[in-house]
């Protein structure tokens, strides 16, 4: 699972679930601080430490429920979406959703104190909302402002907050207390959360629904191949989630590019330019 599945049946429910689970996770974290019981040997204890998953039994139950829901509802929807809607339209939909998430991304870029990333996001909003016709086309990527991941979970990590134990959340999937709290905070940071009533309410639900289907459609191949080839899909998803989050946080942490944009005269880079292989 490359990205956390950002699906919420309801914004508020998501917030409550996110924060509720974060609290539960933290409580469990403190109660589990001693050596794990029920693990006989030192090697087993090492595995336990490494997996950072003291709630594994309950996490696996949630995983099984999510998996059943996914098999029954979300995956068929995603397959139908792929079958019915042609790829260029799906790309347009994806671009619109990505453009709508830019205010949250920008807020986090700023809180992460990464001016160049914030600038990239700002330019993406500006270019794609205008030249890209309300975000349908991702012109900004072609003009040197590629999309990047940014959320409050990453921001908290940069502020020094530890992830806490691995958590498998209902509907939302793999997470941890930090990222779950981040999910809730991102909803609070989203300006669209505060426009409601009439068409806006419908817009809000539609956006979350379409985001869920869009994300799932993009992961159709990967998830089905993991389920087919993994001996323990739960452990595989857990491993992929932890590794991916660590890498994203590392990328943001070390992205210390200077603020002048690419078209502004800059000193030549010290190392050689990457060469084109093909």
């Amino acid at each position: 699972m490359r990205r956390r599945l950002p699906l919420a049946a309801c914004r508020l429910a998501g917030l409550v679930v996110g924060l509720g689970w974060a609290g539960l996770g933290l409580a469990a974290c403190t109660s589990q601080s001693g050596s794990p019981s029920g693990i006989a040997n030192a090697a087993g204890a090492a595995d336990f430490e490494q997996n950072n998953d003291p709630l594994e039994p309950s996490n696996r139950v949630v995983y099984a429920v999510n998996d059943a829901l996914d098999t029954a509802v979300l995956a068929p929807l995603a397959r139908g979406y792929r079958a019915v809607v042609p790829a260029p339209v799906r790309n347009g939909v994806h671009n619109i959703l990505s453009n709508l998430s830019n205010p949250v991304v920008l807020s986090n870029d700023i809180m992460e104190a990464k001016p160049r990333r914030a600038g990239d996001t700002f330019m993406r909003m500006l270019i794609n909302s205008t030249v890209g016709i309300g975000g349908i086309m991702d012109v900004a990527s072609k003009w040197g402002y590629p999309a990047h991941e940014s959320d409050f979970g990453i921001t908290l990590a940069l502020w020094g907050v530890d992830s806490g134990p691995f958590l498998y959340l209902p509907v939302l999937g793999p997470s941890n207390p930090r990222d779950a709290a981040g999910f809730g905070a991102d909803i609070a940071l989203d300006p669209f959360t505060y426009v409601s009533g009439g068409a806006w309410t419908i817009f809000g639900y539609t956006r979350y629904g379409v985001t869920a289907v869009d994300t799932r459609e993009r992961l159709l191949g990967e998830i089905s191949s993991i389920k087919k080839t993994a001996l323990d899909p739960y452990a595989t998803f857990r491993s992929l989630y932890d590794q991916h989050r660590a890498q994203v946080i590392d990328t943001v942490r070390h992205d210390n590019r200077s603020t002048p944009p690419s078209w502004y005269p800059q000193p030549a880079p010290a190392t050689g330019e990457p060469s084109d292989a093909h």
Partner: protein, 212 residues
């Protein structure tokens, strides 16, 4: 007043550095050109470029998926140090396994890995890749590439190249931060932990996977 605050800050900072010391050390080792130096780096990067171009020539040619997979398998076989990855993926269970189990597992792992890689690559079309920078690490050289496919966002893939066998061999691929061998090891060790730490159970599961 000022000095006392500076002293306090210094104490806190050094305590922090002490606590972080052990975790920082691997990061430092990453950046250093350890054994071999620049020649090994360029050798590894050349190897990735050559192998990548070989694969892409097959992938982007017209032809059925099965035909492509048949052509890709021997290249993967030669370029990848399958035995080293197999041993890595069994983690601590490698030492627990009997020599016969090790042998059986290695053979099964070989078909699992080559099938899965050639199967995945065979599905692709219109692939392009660009070479990035290469960095020496204590277990080999990490060569960065970016892979582009139509209708997909560019994917950053790092190749870990080991010289342990004398010639450059792939020992890991890291796609968007997720390591193939680490993910595989987490899968296998978790499976074993839930099957009474019995290596035979894993071997049987792999057999089922290949035949299924």
């Amino acid at each position: 007043m000022l000095t006392r605050r500076t002293l306090l800050l210094f104490t806190v900072a050094s305590a922090g550095a002490f606590a972080l010391g052990p975790t920082l050390r691997p990061a430092v080792a990453w950046g250093q050109a350890t054994s071999g130096g620049t020649e090994q780096i360029s050798q590894a990067s050349e190897f990735v470029k050559r192998t990548g171009n070989q694969l892409i020539d097959i992938i982007n040619e017209p032809g059925s998926m099965a035909e492509k997979q048949k052509l890709i398998a021997p290249i993967i076989d030669k370029a990848v140090d399958v035995d080293a990855i197999a041993q890595f993926c069994l983690g601590r269970y490698w030492r627990v396994a009997t020599p016969e189990q090790q042998q059986a597992y290695k053979q099964l792992f070989h078909s699992v890995l080559v099938n899965s890689i050639s199967g995945k690559l065979g599905e692709y079309t219109g692939v392009r890749f660009t070479m990035g920078k290469s960095v020496a690490r204590d277990d080999g050289v990490v060569v960065s590439t970016t892979i582009q496919r139509p209708n997909n966002a560019p994917t950053a893939v790092d190749w870990v190249i080991s010289m342990a066998s004398g010639s450059p061999k792939i020992v890991d691929t890291i796609a968007e931060g997720t390591s193939l061998r680490l993910t595989q090891r987490d899968d296998y060790t978790s499976y074993l932990a839930h099957n009474n730490n019995n290596v035979q159970a894993l071997i049987d599961a792999l057999k089922r996977q290949i035949s299924g």
